[in-house]
Chain length 187, copies 4
DNA sequence: AATGAATGAGATTTCATTCAT
DNA sequence: AATGAATGAAATCTCATTCAT
């Protein structure tokens, strides 16, 4: 078997770290390579170019979040359980890997133009959750409007912790945030 | 007397437009100047450098939003009226000047490191609103947590419109969004 | 009679000051004008351009030094008296206007290419002094070689004070420097 | 292994040459790169920026001069021999590499603000020589004042040759200059 | 295979000078 | 008359990427 690529993981970690600390554009290939302890050219062995690295980091972490979300939702049977589980699971991820969340926040708007349209996003998962709840009579209203509200409550609370407006860890707000979300969903 | 400044306003308009269309980093001084119909060097008479322009655009527009918010809140006496007025006023601004909102969205996280700490933000206004409502018995809970939720509902709905998940204009969601916010605030 | 030009003297002072503090190239027209309290365009009313200002500052101050030197030399009759008087007068000027000396030092080599050949320099005055002393039997050797040595002793001592290797004021070294110069001149 | 650096030496040579011919500020990165036969960007792999190149050229060549001086002084036992040897060695360097000397002359005053304080300069070497001579009874006076005089005689003679006031090569003045220096040192 | 030197293209910024008011 | 806004040209520097070793 071929030897495993040695520089891939360090490069990803270094990139995430520096992107979050300095911004994507302010971080050069040189920085990343130095931080990862390898050469600049090594990056091109694993990704086509810098943009490719950024996009792939984004989609990978987004998929991770989406999966966690989907698993949490599948783990409960009623809306109440699903919402609590979903928010708890995501906030746990955030507390364990705060950089991931910050990175997604930082690049989402900039990448929104470039991303493939068929990419399933966390927003889609929440939208489906709302649709399902409405169909089952657990929620009322326009599914997309409700999804926006729920995601907004969820995300902005995380942002408040990120910027120190709320004291961390974020997990401590999982309960109240879920309750707020449910109050919006139910009628 | 010296000739009156002629390039300042066109430069600001061109910058806002291009930043929103292409992203801040993808927009060069050259683009801005060409769009504004003046030389690249003209920019440096009015702002120290590109960053300075970005920050000054951001803070100016943020102050505008904040003022609109404050005025709307002052225009009503009870929580219900304040929330409806505030959201309606901001969504109106959004529909009339969508670029302003998009620009703020685009750069907020990247600028968060650079901004002066004493800058009063819309978040502070909403926080005060929540504190006040709690004191007057119109709302219950932690003011900052509530503020996060309200802002989240408000912002994410706008983002959903921005990206076409929800059909515009945004103003049509002012009522439902206000209702959701109030449901979170009240207990 | 026309009103006297108002900005000329402040501009010269500001230029000298800034050239000495930051270097000629690091000092821009903007700096000079701001320091002088007038507009950038005002400079062009008095000098053709920046280079013209630099050269004219240099030649004016050089002529000043040359005149002081000539007067001092003319004030005494024998070599001993001339040398003592010349060094004393120049070092006094230095202590009173240290910037002038530093400015000459700073730009002399850079201007050496541009200056008119027929410009009478302090070096020429000292050369004439040496020639004269030799003719009168007060000194022996090659006049130009002696002039170089005398000027070197004089200038380097000033530089040592300028950079703090020797404690100022420079005038205190006038006697010893003159004695050293005379020891070289006489045989 | 990576390709070996190919542009470093040509860049240094080109820079020295052009700095001396046109002045440091009149010489652009573009000139240097073109002269060195490489790209402008190559310079930035070896030096942080243009200033860094200038400073590093200066300190390297200054160290070279200082070493030659120290070796020459160490090669003789009495003051007379040391002074003759030192001046002869330096003037030989000058005749063989006139650019080095001219470069040091050109930038010394402009760099004086930037240089590290602990940098041992030729002036320090001569100062030590004077101190030692005084201690051994071969010279009398203040060591620093004497050092200034000796250096002045030495440098100004070189400048006179540089500007054509004295006919070259400089080496021909080594004897007389040493004699003048010794006349100042001894009492 | 892996390095890091070299590069071309372009970015931002600075500057002395001109010019409309 | 005097200003300072505007400019064109050039300067320095950065960057992602390629390539010789």
């Amino acid at each position: 078997m071929a030897r495993p690529p040695k520089a891939r993981v360090p490069l990803k970690q270094a990139a995430l770290e520096l992107f979050v600390e300095q911004g994507v554009h302010a971080t050069g290939i040189r920085d990343i390579a130095k931080h990862a302890g390898c050469s600049e050219a090594a990056l091109y062995r694993h990704w086509k170019n810098k943009d490719d690295l950024v996009v792939s980091l984004f989609t990978e972490h987004l998929a991770e979040v989406r999966t966690i979300l989907e698993d949490a939702i599948a783990s409960a049977t009623d809306l109440d359980g699903k919402v609590h589980a979903a928010i708890k699971a995501c906030y746990k991820l955030y507390d364990e890997h705060p950089r991931v969340f910050r990175f997604i926040l930082l690049v989402q708007h900039e990448l929104s133009r470039t991303l493939p349209n068929d990419l399933r996003m966390p927003q889609d998962v929440v939208h489906d959750l709302a649709k399902d709840a409405i169909k089952r009579g657990e929620a009322k209203g326009d599914a997309m409007v409700l999804a926006a509200a729920v995601i907004g409550i969820f995300v902005e609370t995380a942002i408040f912790v990120l910027y120190g407006r709320l004291a961390g860890p974020l997990s401590r707000y999982a309960g109240p945030v879920a309750e707020s979300a449910l109050r919006v969903l139910r009628r």
